[in-house]
Amino acid sequence: MSDQATPVAAQASTATPEATSLFAPDSVGLVSARSMEFMTPLMLACGRELASYTLVYETYGKLNADASNAVLICHALSGNHHAAGYYDAQERKPGWWDAYIGPGKPIDTRHFFVVSLNNLGGCHGSTGPSSINPETGKTYGPDFPVLTVKDWVNSQARLADALGIQKWAAVIGGSLGGMQVLQWAISQPERLRHAVVIASTPRLSAQNIAFNEVARQAIMSDPHFYNGRYAEHHTLPRHGLRLARMIGHITYLSEHSMGQKFGRDLRIDKLNYGFDVEFQVESYLRYQGESFSERFDANTYLLMTKALDYFDPAADFNDDLVTAVSQATCDFMVISFTTDWRFAPARSQEIVNALVAAGKAVSYACIDSPHGHDAFLIPNPRYQAVFSAYMHKVHAQITQPTQDH
């Protein structure tokens, strides 16, 4: 490996050669999380402020000398900073977007310095409802402020400052992550060159909000929820969180992909005329809900769904999305998936049409995939080709000024 450009890049090289060889050549290999403390108060959209906070993040690849090759990954509702690679050789599953981040992958870590963080309000190490409130010495719980996508962008901008990144080569995200990308382009236009908005929407529909409300009600009506103070009661609203995840999961898949995966298959080859698990799809949903309820914080889930519901960048511009995106100066790549009914292709087209009306540079591809909303996480040859082609353009613009070496 060549010499490091900055102290940040030096920190970023977490993979050792012998460890790397345990993994596929297109894997970023072993990674580790880092954290950054912020002591300057952050003013929030709700009117409250956070006096101090921590953000955990991972980086892959090396920051170049003029810090022009940095890419920010924004995560979705239940995501976190562990987007690629492995924490140890025994880890079964790599980071959540490993299919798209690594040497030779669309977000090519031979070219880009990739930053992936756990958003504020999260439950994987960044300050959130399950952190200790320094004012009380107890967990924040329901006292943690409700955050918006704009708040996340502001906190991410501070992380960029701390890492010495003035301008991202690209900000990239799917679903709720795509909303953060759109918000970056609108409210911090001078700080990114490219925006990649995947399987996203300019605002939630009534149906989207309705599903979120059912999920919230499931959590809040769990007797172990204790108005969000379950930590003080040494318990967890597992049942509610399980239901919330089950309903969420249904909206991430398509009717077709559920049909393909489970059909009407039974766990045991006969009906038992009862209400216990019989169909494979029931078993799958229960399993998904159960594992999620053990690893995700209920208050964070509530907060994330609220951030989704509140997201509406056009609201700041007389409900005119064209005026909103007119603020942007970056180029855009918008990607949707044919069977995504949570944020259907028509929602991505709203973004594209607004960008076209505003005269912005934008490309749009609607990828044929049977996997519904989840498609943005799953390997797909056309998705990979389009994504790689766009990132090739992003990279070409970084290297152009210094091409004469």
Partner: protein, 196 residues
């Protein structure tokens, strides 16, 4: 670049706002961006061609032209181009209206079905013409609305559209003096520049 595209490029003003319907691999837009500093978008439905456009830095939007141009505002472009796609649309007449709603003028190219070789093929063999510019069989051709110089001009007259310029080409992208003399017989590819 294809000769018909070179000819089209000559008709585009510097810094024009251009929409290229069925932009293929984006070679015309890439050329116009570089040579004329135009601002524009290409519309395309072929997955691989879209990827090529993106890779070469052409703004491309995946969109089926048969769904119309509802997402584009009135008079928002200087030129709307459609190269070798009109004959493959469900309603070419409605598309012309749409193109001239969105753009100040439009440039259209299509294979001339009255080209002498087509005529000869049909006259002598009694079968649907298959040629360099029309390589498909009748049952699998995307060209469901083939037309001729004369038919196209009749439609323009009916719609009171102005023909600003007309050019002829062949599939090898050369022009021959005979095709200027009698385009509907000798012209293999028709190239029109029209406005309201």
């Amino acid at each position: 670049m294809r000769a018909d595209l070179t000819l089209i490029a000559d008709w585009i003003e510097p810094q024009a706002r251009v929409l290229d319907l069925g932009c293929g691999e984006g070679e015309l837009l890439a050329y116009l961006q570089q040579a004329r500093q135009i601002h524009g978008y290409g519309l395309e439905i072929d997955a691989e061609k879209i990827t090529t456009c993106i890779r070469r830095g052409v703004n491309v939007i995946e969109q089926d032209l048969d769904d119309g141009l509802n997402n584009f505002r009135d008079a928002s472009y200087d030129v709307v181009i459609m190269s070798q796609a009109l004959q493959a649309l469900l309603r070419p007449d409605q598309m012309l209206d749409e193109m001239l709603r969105v753009g100040r003028e439009c440039i259209v190219t299509f294979p001339n079905f009255a080209w002498w070789r087509c005529r000869l093929h049909l006259a002598l063999k009694g079968r649907m013409p298959v040629s360099r510019s029309l390589p498909h069989q009748w049952y699998n051709t995307p060209n469901i609305h083939l037309t001729t110089f004369k038919d196209f001009e009749a439609l323009c007259t009916q719609k009171s559209l102005k023909i600003l310029a007309r050019a002829v080409g062949n599939s090898a992208h050369q022009t021959h003096w005979t095709s200027h003399l009698w385009p509907n017989f000798f012209g293999e590819v028709a190239i029109y520049r029209i406005s309201r």
